[in-house]
Symmetry: C2
DNA sequence: CTTCTATCTTGACAATGTCAAAATGAAAAC
DNA sequence: GTTTTCATTTTGACATTGTCAAGATAGAAG
């Protein structure tokens, strides 16, 4: 009954695995996450994780999925603040980049080739990502109506290109191409100018 | 003397390795390039490649470096065409995306985490990338003078954000986030509108 | 022909992902 | 309370990979 470890049945191995994995990738990068070391960290034998996740890919999908939920939480939280929509958008852009850099490894799983190209995105991951994308496009439409984002194309297209721009900036930092994080907020500000209809 | 294979000394193993590796990554992705299979493909023992490249990282760096040279060639070729600078810029954007998609695996090595974050970019790779970046920034300056790109910031900043946008678009396709390549040219057109000062 | 040296090979090891079969223990059925 | 069942975990095993160390080979230089 005690919540102490070293018992045969672990309690909630699924959760433990996810939590430990999240920490490991945040601190040491996805490439140094091995199923075996993870099992060891959690205090369980090599193959125990395979009874909770089909394979490594499935574990990573679950991590990515958590990221999508977190990101949606961020957007909703910002939208609930009562303020000028322009202000909300600017804050969102900053928040997006901040999230991407702070949880860069999770971000990489969410939007990187590991799962989407080299790997095999799970159905529920696909669902989560589609949902997040849809929420974004809907918001873009609102922003277009308020003349904050350009009206020279459909919400889908504007949403795609706008997001692509943010994503590109995020990736350059995440992947180690841009290293000087001093420049980040400057670049974000410029990006906002590029994206908004009202060039200042 | 004959250029036929199956001789102890291979002839130009360095080049053969690079060529085969380029084909393999293009056809099957970087993650399915193994040193051993590569050696086998080229018809040489497992460890022979290690006398030509310090390790796998070094081989990949060499591939990425070729990519930078190729990309610079593309830019120079476009700039040498006598035409409106606006036209040249538009063509460049299209060409950039085309290159990124056609040689997506090389592109990933050039600008992805494999080498820059998880790996260890060689000095000559760093040099090549810096050179390419500098050529880009110089051109951005010209484009600003001609009022094609916005003048509300330095060439460096505008170059960074503009490139980030292109890169982001490229990555979303490359990494399998955007799948519908029908939409590509549409999105590129919209991206150009976002980036240029003269919104149409 | 001998020696040198660049090039290539064989042997070996550790790390990894993951399958199959056996062991364990808690809960359900009796 | 005993037995049965089933989810959970373990041990054993295997193939793939990157890479090191030591030896083999052959063409060039003397």
């Amino acid at each position: 009954m005690s919540t102490l470890k070293t018992q045969y049945h672990h309690g909630d191995l699924t959760k433990s695995l996810l939590d430990s994995a999240a920490i490991i990738i945040k601190e040491q990068g996805v490439e140094s996450l091995s199923m075996r070391k993870l099992a060891d960290t959690v205090g369980v034998s090599r193959t125990a994780p395979y009874h909770h996740f089909k394979d490594k890919n499935a574990l990573l999908c679950a991590l990515a999925e958590q990221g999508f939920h977190e990101q949606e939480r961020i957007l909703n939280s910002l939208k609930s603040e009562k303020q000028q929509a322009t202000e909300t958008f600017k804050k969102y852009v900053h928040a997006y980049l901040e999230y991407a850099l702070q949880y860069s490894e999770t971000y990489d799983l969410m939007y990187g080739r590991t799962l989407w190209k080299a790997g095999n995105p799970s159905d529920s991951l696909k669902t989560a990502s589609k949902q997040t994308f849809k929420a974004w496009i809907d918001w873009v439409e609102e922003l277009q109506e308020k003349n904050i984002l350009p009206n020279n194309n459909t919400p889908l297209r504007i949403g795609q290109t706008t997001w692509a721009s943010l994503h590109g900036l995020a990736r350059l930092f995440i992947d180690g191409i841009y290293l000087d994080k001093e420049d980040l907020s400057d670049m974000v500000e410029q990006m906002i100018k590029n994206l908004c209809s009202t060039s200042t």
